[in-house]
């Protein structure tokens, strides 16, 4: 293992042109117990060069900064850690995240935050198709726009889009809330625009504050499930 300690007692630095993703993840998994309870442990990852599965399965209060672009599933199934990507992300960033936060400085490919159950995913650029697909409780804030089928079958949590949304937004949505500031190309099956009440403005304001995104909640519209498709009925077959 060649990971070097840097300034602080527990600070770690990995150069992925020198060490493998396996070495990075193994070290972060092995030291999870030691990293817990003493405040965030800074971790720097250099030269990710689009590699997949960087910083996946973390279970401790790490503060990981990745200096560059990453491939698929960066920060997948994250628990407790904060992962910052100073670049763009491939498919499935923060998939099935349980807690903690993932902050992407650039844009994200498809299925960002897929099935995430907790924590906060912030994408400062755009997110491609199916952002927040099957969301199960996490919150996703996209400073830019999202592609088609975003929020597909989203169950719980919130998807905030500060830009525009593509076709079939919120298709087959369950109880997740979707907020969009810009235009919506089209709504998916059973997704409808809903009244923006104070409780929603408060939730949105809090999410924007957590994401450190400067936007006025009053400029957003809210979308949710019409709940017409919660139980199959033959008379609704035409909307599928």
């Amino acid at each position: 293992m060649t990971a070097s300690e840097t300034t602080a007692r527990t600070a770690l630095s990995f150069d992925l042109r020198v060490e493998s993703v396996r070495e990075l993840n193994r070290r972060l998994h092995e030291e999870a117990a030691a990293a817990s309870g003493a405040g965030p442990v800074p971790v720097q990852v250099l030269h990710p060069d689009g590699r997949h599965s960087i910083a996946v399965g973390l279970t401790a209060d790490y503060d990981v900064t990745i200096e560059g672009h990453v491939g698929y599933y960066c920060a997948g199934m994250n628990q407790l850690a904060t992962v910052r990507v100073r670049g763009n992300c491939g498919v499935g960033v923060a998939e099935n995240m349980m807690s903690g936060s993932v902050i992407v400085q650039g844009s994200a490919s498809q299925a960002a935050g897929a099935t995430a159950r907790g924590g906060l995913l912030v994408i400062h650029g755009d997110a491609s198709a199916r952002c927040g697909i099957s969301l199960k409780g996490a919150d996703v804030v996209v400073r830019g726009s999202v592609g088609h089928m975003s929020g597909f079958m989203a169950q719980k949590g919130a998807l905030v889009v500060c830009g525009d949304a593509g076709e079939a937004l919120g298709d087959s949505l369950y109880e997740a809330r979707v907020y969009v500031r810009g235009s919506v190309a089209g709504l998916g099956a059973d997704c409808v625009e809903k009244e923006m009440r104070d409780e929603h403005r408060d939730q949105l304001a809090a999410l924007l504050a957590r994401a450190e995104v400067d936007a006025d909640p009053d400029e957003f519209r809210r979308y949710g499930s019409a709940r017409r498709l919660y139980n199959f009925h033959i008379d609704n077959v035409g909307v599928y």
């Binding site: 993703v21 396996r22 993840n25 193994r26 998994h29 997949h52 599965s53 996946v56 399965g57 279970t59 491939g71 698929y72 599933y73 997948g76 199934m77 628990q79 498919v91 499935g92 998939e95 099935n96 349980m98 498809q110 299925a111 897929a114 099935t115 159950r117 199916r130 697909i133 099957s134 199960k136 409780g137 597909f152 079958m153 169950q155 719980k156 087959s172 369950y174 109880e175 919660y230 139980n231 199959f232 033959i234």
Partner: protein, 446 residues
């Protein structure tokens, strides 16, 4: 005899082979309800199956092993390709993935108890892992399904293997639906949805599409679990040759191949009976694919779909499988369709031996239900004992047949030990028609 009496045939009445009583009843039901039929169980139509194969017992040209004295081993290790901790099973019969939600808590516990008693594995299902299931299963395979209901990295790390479910034999290419009346508070909580609403299970995974993505997904799962536990890929039998090759290329430790007879808790009848191919036809395709890649016995092949007896087990192994998996048969062993519940079945318009409304949640045997008073009818200790008895019987039967063929391990059974009773079975299983050396599609008629 009255014409409308049950089975009220009399001379002059001719039933249509095309519009038989089942077809007529289904047309009438569809016209009445306006919706396709959803049910559990598996395919009920007759398809070429293991019954169409026979073993060639030893004689002069081969010598057998003594049935009650000479050893015939049954163990199998799964996950030897990449996992640092492969699973070692005492018998080559595993319990297939079935969800808590589709099944009651006592049923899941009983499956774990029975499997553990005989040293084999059981498998979670859609909806995640329950603490009871983990507690009572010494070897537990954790399914990663498209819905990701209940998916939790802590459970992933607690598992003994991961099974990435691409499809299942009852519905290759289809998703699923747990109907709202089976969604109890606990099931709803595990699945992050309100109680009482239909819970759809998607037909595709949310964060990968195709074999190249699957390879990256498997790598992620290995990274999260530190390359410790095996990763299976489960496919429904359809384009098996290619699916197996692609799963191997994607990095699977084991392939789970589910034939069209495989069970389901709730699927459209039209899907169950009309999509996929029989397991008999699928196994040779899978083995061919593995052999061509030099991966046979390196990537283990677990097959399922209509396994009922030790003969089925032995025949599947002889065709090249490393292990089999049972679902429907395991539930029957627990008490599903048992005559002791005849009154209960009659009350809901069914009968012991025919009950397949596993989607309805009114199971008198307490297995495919979330109703507490029904679920309480299943004693998980007794159910586990029955399952263990059944698994032991299957194993003994498979050993009996293997010894008769002179094999000291059930894995030494081979296609050369088999012949087929029908041309169709011979062509599918790629073994000779009995009494000939003809394998349709492989050898010329001599």
């Amino acid at each position: 005899m009255a014409v409308d009496a049950p089975l009220g045939w009399h001379p002059g009445l001719r039933e249509s082979a095309t519009f038989d009583r089942n077809a007529i009843a289904e047309i009438q039901r569809a016209a009445r309800e306006g919706m396709y039929d959803i049910r559990g169980f598996g395919a009920k139509r007759r398809v070429p199956h293991f019954d169409d194969l026979l073993f060639l017992g030893a004689s002069v040209s081969r010598y057998p092993l003594e049935g009650y004295r000479e050893r015939c081993a049954t163990d199998v290790t799964i996950g030897t390709r990449f996992a640092s901790e492969p699973i070692h099973l005492d018998i080559p019969i595993t319990i297939a993935g079935m969800s808590f939600g589709a099944l009651s808590g006592p049923a899941k516990e009983a499956l774990g108890r029975g499997a553990s008693e005989v040293g084999t594995s059981t498998t979670t299902g859609d909806g995640g892992m329950t603490p009871e299931e983990r507690e009572h299963s010494t070897k537990l395979v954790y399914q990663l399904l498209p819905s990701r209901y209940g998916m939790n990295p802590d459970d992933l790390r607690r598992a003994d293997a991961i099974e990435v479910v691409v499809g299942q034999g009852a519905k290759p290419g289809g998703g699923g639906m747990l109907l709202g009346h089976k969604i109890s508070e606990r099931v709803a909580e595990m699945r992050d949805l309100p109680p009482g609403i239909d819970q759809r299970s998607a037909c595709r995974h949310p964060d990968w599409t195709g074999p190249d993505d699957l390879e990256i997904k498997i790598e992620e799962l290995r990274e999260i679990t530190d390359w410790r536990i095996p990763i299976y890929v489960k496919v429904g039998a359809s384009r098996t040759y290619y699916d197996v090759a692609l799963a191997v290329k994607a990095g699977a430790d084991a392939i789970v191949l589910d034939g069209m007879q495989g069970g389901t808790a709730a699927t459209q009848e039209v899907f169950i009976e009309h999509v996929g191919i029989p397991i008999l036809a699928a196994i040779p395709q899978a083995v061919e694919s593995l052999v061509e890649l030099d991966m046979h016995r390196k990537v283990q092949l677990i097959v399922s779909g209509g396994i009922r007896t030790g003969a089925d087990v032995a025949k599947a192994l002889a065709l090249g499988a490393d292990a089999v998996s049972i679902g429907v048969a395991a539930l029957i062993a627990l008490g599903d369709n048992a005559p002791e519940h005849a009154g209960g079945y009659a009350e809901i318009g069914s009968a012991a031996g025919f009950y397949d409304d596993w989607q309805a949640g009114r199971d008198p045997a307490g297995i495919s239900t979330q109703e507490p008073e029904l679920a309480a009818r299943l004693d998980p200790v007794l159910g586990g004992r029955r399952l263990a008895n059944y698994l032991r019987t299957l194993t003994l039967e498979a050993q009996t047949l293997a010894r008769a063929c002179g094999k000291s391990h059930v894995h030494n059974l081979e296609p050369e030990d088999l012949v087929a009773l029908t041309i169709e079975a011979a062509a599918m299983a790629r073994v000779p028609l009995a009494g000939t050396s003809w394998i349709p599609g492989v050898t010329a008629i001599s």
